[in-house]
């Protein structure tokens, strides 16, 4: 499916009585990588989880506002969250492969569990997704023999990426995808983001400002549930327009 841009308007999110996001509005361009940076607890993760309606799966969580992906109204009447999540892939902070499934079944899970069973097609999709996630050569010999949990942390994260790509999403959300990985695995993931943004709209939450500077075309800075600033990454890291952004990226807090 063709990648689409994301349009967010007046987005508010709550955990019970505590408001986690305040009136966020932003345009996330198609086929670019957009980084979300900010100190812990600023609402970065909550924000991306609102884009694919994962936020509402938590107890007492609530969302208000408008999100559209292409011309699809994410919170529209009668729009199923399940359908949204098929179009918006997600990679989580900690690698979370399905422990009882083989590498092959992990990648095929999104299709198989939605009723897609064409063996030949599945073989092709699994290979293509694993190649896309730069994992194919490392696992091609034990696709059906080994569990997804038997891989190393970095490999597991690329497996999760392949799993998300297999359902051919339009948007790829990555919630601190490299924060639990060593520097070499991190570099691999970053290289992949570089490749992936040619085809997908990528949103990446990161703690690591160098990472944002390396991979993202645009960067948004979040603070205490508000979006302070959104700009081209280059501009953001050289001439931020807000004092708080400058304080954060120069390491005065956070």
């Amino acid at each position: 499916m063709e990648a689409a841009g994301i349009h967010v308007k007046d987005l508010n999110a709550w955990f019970g009585a505590k408001q986690a996001l305040h009136g966020i509005g932003m345009e996330i361009p198609a086929k670019k990588a957009t980084a979300i940076i900010g100190p812990s607890g600023c609402g970065k993760s909550t924000f991306v989880r609102c884009l694919n309606r994962m936020h509402e799966t938590l107890p007492d969580a609530r969302v208000e506002g408008k999100v559209s992906i292409g011309d699809l109204d994410v919170y529209g009447r009668g729009v199923s969250p399940v359908w949204i999540r098929r179009r918006v892939g997600m990679v989580f902070q900690k690698p979370n492969p399905f422990p009882t499934m083989s590498i092959y079944d992990n990648v095929a899970a999104g299709l198989k569990l939605n009723g897609f069973h064409n063996r030949h097609e599945l073989d092709n999709i699994v290979e293509r997704s694993l190649r896309h996630a730069a994992l194919w050569d490392e696992v091609k010999d034990d696709l059906k023999k080994k569990s997804g949990a038997s891989l190393s942390g970095g490999q597991q994260q690329r497996l999760c990426l392949a799993r998300a790509l297999a359902v051919e999403p339009e948007v790829l959300l990555m919630d601190e995808p490299a924060s639990a990985l060593d520097p070499i695995s991190t570099a691999k993931i970053e290289d992949l983001i570089f490749e992936l943004k040619k085809e997908y709209t990528v949103v990446i939450v990161t703690h690591n400002m160098q990472q944002a500077a390396r991979v993202a075309d645009f960067t948004a800075f979040f603070l205490m549930g508000y979006m302070v600033e959104l700009d081209k990454t280059e501009t953001m890291f050289t001439k931020p327009s807000d004092k708080r952004t400058e304080d954060y990226i120069t390491g005065r807090f956070g």
Binding site: K94, F98, P99, L113, N114, K146, S150, A164
Partner: protein
């Protein structure tokens, strides 16, 4: 300084040794009854164990020979039908408690399951009597299975809930994030991840009810002959053991011991078989 640190290390080593020793001793004491039971049952039961015992039905009192074939088959049938009733109900309610039960209704179900777990088995037998025997107007294999099935439910339910709660939230999120509907996530991802624990819970419940005698007395009732349908009274190993054990004949006692040996073997065989099947279905490196 050096001296005092050495003292600590000596004291630590002694404490460690004492703690380890007492744990090992406790473990050893716990296993004694098990081996006593197994030893007694095997030495007393092996004598009357022969091909006839496994293939013949009981001979009239006073005649030698005969076996418990009808009771062995009866027990297997009772447990199979009981599992058909108890396993789906137990797993179903366990899934409900773990995935949808964080509320008043869930607490009520949880409380009910715990109370049911503590209800004496003879009371459950009476319930099955009232529900099935009275309605059917005769004792039956079905009535016995209902009693045993009800007894399996609370154990399977609560253990299933526990093991499902051990499945990390991240695994559920991974599935939901792929656009897999919640029911499918629970069925194909959560239950599959917890399958080893669920098999354990079924085995626990199975082993518990396999030896139950009281709830069968006025449901399955017992039968000196082959039971030909699910609606007829049936013999069962625990019932047959009980009947023979209270008879004033040496030969009946010997057969009761052999019945006990067969019952224990049956339970052990089933548990090992299911463990084997469930371990075969997991793949390399699965945690």
């Amino acid at each position: 300084m050096l001296k005092s640190s050495q003292n600590i290390s000596v004291r630590r080593r002694v404490t460690n040794w004492l703690a380890l020793g007492s744990i090992c001793l406790a473990t050893f004491i716990v296993t004694i009854p098990l081996f006593l039971i197994l030893g007694t049952v095997i030495t007393r039961g092996i004598g009357a164990l022969n091909w006839d015992f496994l293939t013949q039905i009981p001979k009239p009192i006073g005649e030698t020979g005969g076996g418990m074939a009808n009771a062995i088959v009866g027990s297997i049938e009772l447990l199979a039908v009981a599992s058909l009733i108890g396993v789906p109900l137990g797993i179903g309610s366990g899934v409900f408690l773990a995935e949808y039960g964080r509320n008043k209704w869930g607490n009520m179900v949880r409380f009910t399951a715990d109370v049911l777990n503590g209800v004496p088995s003879i009371v459950i037998g009476l319930t099955a009597y009232a529900l099935v025997v009275v309605v059917q107007k005769h004792f039956s294999l079905l009535a016995g299975s209902v009693a045993l099935g009800i007894m399996m439910v609370p154990t399977i339910c609560r253990t299933t809930e526990e093991v499902l709660l051990l499945v990390p939230q991240a695994i559920r999120e991974a599935a939901l994030g792929l656009g897999i509907p919640k029911w499918r996530t629970i069925l194909s991802v959560v239950l599959r991840t917890a399958s080893a624990g669920i098999v354990t819970s079924i085995m626990l419940a199975f082993a518990r009810v396999a030896g139950e005698t009281a709830p069968l007395m006025f449901t399955a009732f017992g039968n000196q002959y082959w039971s030909k349908s699910i609606n007829q009274p049936t013999a069962a190993l625990p019932l047959q053991i009980f009947t023979y054990a209270i008879m004033p004949y040496e030969q009946a006692h010997a057969q009761a011991w052999t019945g006990a040996l067969v019952l224990i073997s049956l339970i052990m065989f089933t548990v090992i078989l299911f463990r084997f099947i469930s371990s075969r279905s997991t793949i390399k490196g699965a945690s």
